[in-house]
Every structure is written in C-alpha cells, then in structure tokens.
C-alpha cells in the first residue's frame, strides 16, 4: 500500500501546532512508515509537487498570502484539517478584529515602545511584494471548506497523532477527555 501524502503549513500562526506535532516523540518513527510529506515546513518543500491526501492547517487568514496558500491547499488536498485555535477561530491574531487596520499598523510601526524613537520618517511598510492585511482575521473554514477540526492551543500531540492515525488507517478516532482541550 502506498503511503498517505501529507502537507502542512503555518499561516497566521506561531508554529506552536507544528511543535506540538513533533511532540509525538518516538512515534515519529511510526509516522514515517505511515505517511510521506509533501509541501511542509518539516521537510522544507516550498511548493506542491503532487496531489496530497491530507492537509494540516495551522493559523487563520490574516493577509492575502494566507488566503492564497489556503486555496492552494484546498486545490491539492483531498482532506483539510484545521489544527489549533487560530485555524478554528482566528485565535490571538483575531484580537485585532475589532480595531481599524490603521490603528494596528500605527501601533506596530509608529507608537510601540520599540519603534517610537527609531522610525523618524514615519515609514509604514508599503511594497508590492508584501501581502496586504485583510480587514480582519478569518477562521480557515470561512474561506474554504474544511473537513475536520482539532481544537487546542496547541492541540495536544496525542490528539494530532490520534487524528492523523485515524484518518490514514480508517480506524475510529480516539478522543480521551485529557487530550481534548481548548487551551
């Protein structure tokens, strides 16, 4: 049987979910028997080279690049899984959702204690190469169809492992109380 192909990405996230994924310890040896990775920060493949079975998404959509990556994942993956609070509801970045973007940018580049005195020309990042910020941070399932959700900040390693194992083998998902958390 050929291995399941997995792709992962971190959009508006902190890479904590990827760290938690690596927290499966010695089961990483079982993992490489079970799946092969395509586009993912784990193996540093930047672009999809084939169709994948499972896409693991960390982080919500805060800018135009995140949306582009997410749509690319939907195109190349049979099953998409939102991993972690940010992918599910925007998480910490979504705390800006009530604020005007100008206020956020001004705070980051003009008024913050670390930038206040070192930006005398009051330059704001404005380059065609830079992705545009969205009006607010969107959960992944508000942009494309998401098939499964794994909550947690980060989701416990056991939860990610159980879910991935269940998806690949077709077994029922084990969901013990201790691994199912929102924080």
């Amino acid at each position: 049987m050929s291995k399941a192909v997995v792709a992962t990405t971190s959009m508006a996230g902190c890479f904590g979910c990827h760290m938690s994924f690596l927290d499966i310890d010695e089961r990483i040896l079982d993992l490489i028997e079970l799946v092969e990775f395509n586009k993912s920060p784990i193996n540093d493949i930047k672009h999809f080279t084939k169709q994948c079975d499972i896409g693991l998404l960390e982080g919500g959509c805060a800018n135009s690049e995140n949306v582009e990556v997410l749509k690319e994942f939907r195109k190349h993956c049979k099953i998409l899984v939102s991993v972690g609070e940010c992918a599910l509801m925007g998480g910490l970045p979504a705390m800006r959702n009530g604020l005007p973007i100008k206020e956020c940018i001004d705070e980051a580049y003009l008024n913050a204690p670390t930038t206040k005195n070192c930006n005398p020309n009051r330059i704001l990042p404005n380059d065609d190469e830079l992705p545009m910020l969205l009006d607010r941070v969107y959960p992944c399932h508000e942009i494309v169809k998401i098939d499964y959700f794994l909550p947690g900040c980060p989701p416990r390693a056991d939860l990610i492992w159980n879910a991935l194992y269940a998806l690949v083998t077709g077994d029922e998902l084990k969901l013990p109380y201790e691994v199912f958390k929102y924080d």
Binding site: G91, M95, Y182
Partner: protein, 233 residues
C-alpha cells in the same frame, strides 16, 4: 411534608420529592443534567437553556420545571444532546471566547461543557463583536467579551442588606453587566474572588491575582463537568 414521587429519566426508574426541580432530583438519582446559568442554593433563572430536556414529549428547561408523579424525561437522547450542543456553540460564536488567553481557562464552565459535548468548532459563524474590557474598578475586571449574560452574578452576589452588587445595564444586543455604583466601594478582594468563582466564564476577574492554579490541577482538567454526580452510585 413533601410527598415522594416516581419518575423516569431515559427509562431509568427514579425517586424524588414532588415540586423539587428536575435538575436537583436527577442529581440525587446520580444523573447529571448539564446546567450553566443555574447556581447552587439560588433561585433558577432558565436563561441559558442548556438544561433542556423533554418531559412527556415536550421540550422544557429542567432547572425550572417542578417534578411530578410519572414524568417521563428524555435527557441523553441524540436530539436533546444536539439542542444542548447547539446552545453551547451559539454562546461560543456570539462572544469572543479566546480560551488560550483567558485566566479562567480550565475552570470555566462554558469551556467544560464544550469539552463534555466534544465541540470541535461551532456550527455557526463567529460574530466577533466589539466589546470592552472594563478595568476601572480597583479590585475587579469586567470582560464583556466573555459574558454570556446568565445573570449569576446579579442573583448570587448580594450585600448584607440583600442588594445586588451587579445589575444589567442597557437593552437588547447592547445588554451588559455593570457594578452598582453605590456598592462599588464595598467590593473587597474577597467579594471580587467570590464574583470570579460565581461567574461561569472569565467575565469577572479579581485583580492582581490570576493563573495561580497550574495546568492539570484546574477544575475541569482531568474530570468532565458533572462527573461528580455520575460517580455516586
């Protein structure tokens, strides 16, 4: 003297006193009916509807329905569980419930119900309402993002004359809790702590103290909410 009556929950024969509320009778029969706005020794309010059951085929709130002889109550059927889960999901979608950054996380009853129903993500779109955090009181923080308007603080937190420390303020979608101005000075650290404990979410927080219980030892870290009733056999 109240008379004893027999009734059934999900087909299980139970005994209780006539006129007591269904939630209380169920607990004494080792059956947990999830509640959120209900608080021990306080008159029920039925504002959250999480304790919804079917009594003789009709949907009712079990915290305000007095027990009668021969009631046939549906508690853990798929239909009822879906209604309850839907209510929890609505509450999560309606406010800004950022569990990772909340001091009450792990001891929050709303979160614990989410765990109990294994809510992965609300079925409803998030509203992301714009609400304020009011830290003007010297001992108390009010975070309206997390308030579910259950009125627990208004009903439970009273001074020695029976006046409520908290009250509802404004109307409709703008409704929020506020501290009664004439009693604001009377909120000591102890009162603030009790308000924090009474609040089912993290909407009321005592100042200058938080994150004091390590992860793993918080109320609902290891045991689901309601398991204390179910274990008594």
């Amino acid at each position: 003297m109240s008379e004893f009556v027999s009734f059934k929950i999900d087909g299980k024969q139970c005994m209780g006193r006539a006129g007591e509320y269904i939630t209380e009778a169920a607990e004494r029969n080792s059956i947990y009916i999830p509640t959120l706005c209900n608080y021990k020794d306080t008159a029920p309010k039925a504002s959250c509807r999480v304790c919804t059951v079917k009594v003789n085929g009709r949907v009712m709130t079990s915290c305000t329905t007095p027990l009668q002889e021969g009631m046939e109550i549906e508690n853990e059927t798929a239909e009822i569980q879906d209604i309850r889960s839907g209510i929890i999901e609505l509450l999560f979608a309606e406010g800004n419930h950022l569990c990772p950054s909340c001091e009450k996380s792990g001891s929050c009853e709303l979160q614990a119900l989410g765990y109990r129903f294994r809510m992965m993500v609300p079925r409803f779109p998030y509203l992301f309402p714009v609400r304020e955090i009011d830290a003007s009181h010297p001992r108390l923080i009010k975070d309206h993002n997390r308030c579910i308007l259950c009125k627990r603080c208004v009903r439970v937190m009273k001074d020695e004359k029976g006046r409520s420390f908290f009250a509802f303020y404004k109307r409709g979608a703008k409704l929020e809790i506020t501290v009664a101005p004439e009693l604001a000075d009377k909120i000591t650290d102890e009162v603030a702590q009790k308000a924090m404990d009474v609040c089912p979410t993290g909407a009321l927080l005592r100042k200058r103290q938080g994150w004091d219980v390590p992860v793993g030892k918080r109320l609902f870290d290891m045991k689901p909410i309601g398991s204390e009733f179910e274990q008594v056999k």
